[in-house]
Symmetry: C2
Subunit: 113 residues, 2 copies
DNA sequence: ATCACGAGCAACCTCGCGGTTGCATTTCAC
DNA sequence: GTGAAATGCAACCGCGAGGTTGCTCGTGAT
């Protein structure tokens, strides 16, 4: 059973994650968190041209999509990636791809008939 | 050379693809094209609650992101997935993930020092 | 020849997203 | 304890995304 894997995000669930990754600034944040590890908001702001507030909002969006999470540390809050979520997305894309292969196969069979 | 693979979408390039997949209606279209193979606009419209025009617009967005492509066939236009693009996205996510692992490793080494 | 079907074109509307600025609050450093 | 640093909170704004409706146009069927 479970051709739909439990962890694999089902359609309605996956869209928000893609949407979260769909903004350039946000994708930049993800890339930076990924390459440099967890870091504070100011640090994330330094490498960009938008305001700190904008970055903060983006971080909340990423949190909503469960792509990132924050930990308070004194007066600064440290944000880090939640990479399990990326794995979910990959699994979803895998499903799509394999379905596509199947569909083409069926289509060809249908045409030849 | 080329630690960044040529086909792997670089940051600025990847965001639009994610954005294209980030809308529920659009993701539904992709899923349907993936599971049922190429099909016409009306057919894609039948399974949804929005207008044909809306679907058409979404299809153009997918085309812009090179996730789908259309072929005219008589009076109907048939749309199909362009799965290579999905592979690009997967590769991009792979990069992010591996970078993340590396970053954590470095971080741990730094703390222990 | 006529009619219906599938699609394209264009104008329009609404609302949420990405961004800003200004101020308050907490915490560290000295 | 005082000042500066890091963040949170709130109000505001422009614009483009997602949607609709109405009409036209080409093509296939009869």
């Amino acid at each position: 059973m479970a051709t739909k894997r439990s962890a694999a995000a089902n359609l309605a669930d996956a869209a928000p994650v893609f949407a979260a990754l769909g903004d350039p600034t946000r994708l930049r944040i993800v890339a930076q968190l990924s390459s440099q590890g967890p870091q504070s908001i100011v640090r994330l702001t330094e490498t960009t041209d938008v305001s700190r507030q904008a970055i903060t909002k983006h971080l909340y969006v990423l949190e909503e999509a469960r792509l990132a999470r924050s930990v308070r540390n004194g007066r600064e809050s440290i944000w880090e990636l939640q990479p399990e979520r990326l794995a979910d997305v990959q699994r979803y894309l895998d499903d799509i791809s394999s379905q596509w292969d199947g569909a083409l196969e069926r289509l060809r069979a249908l045409v030849e008939k």
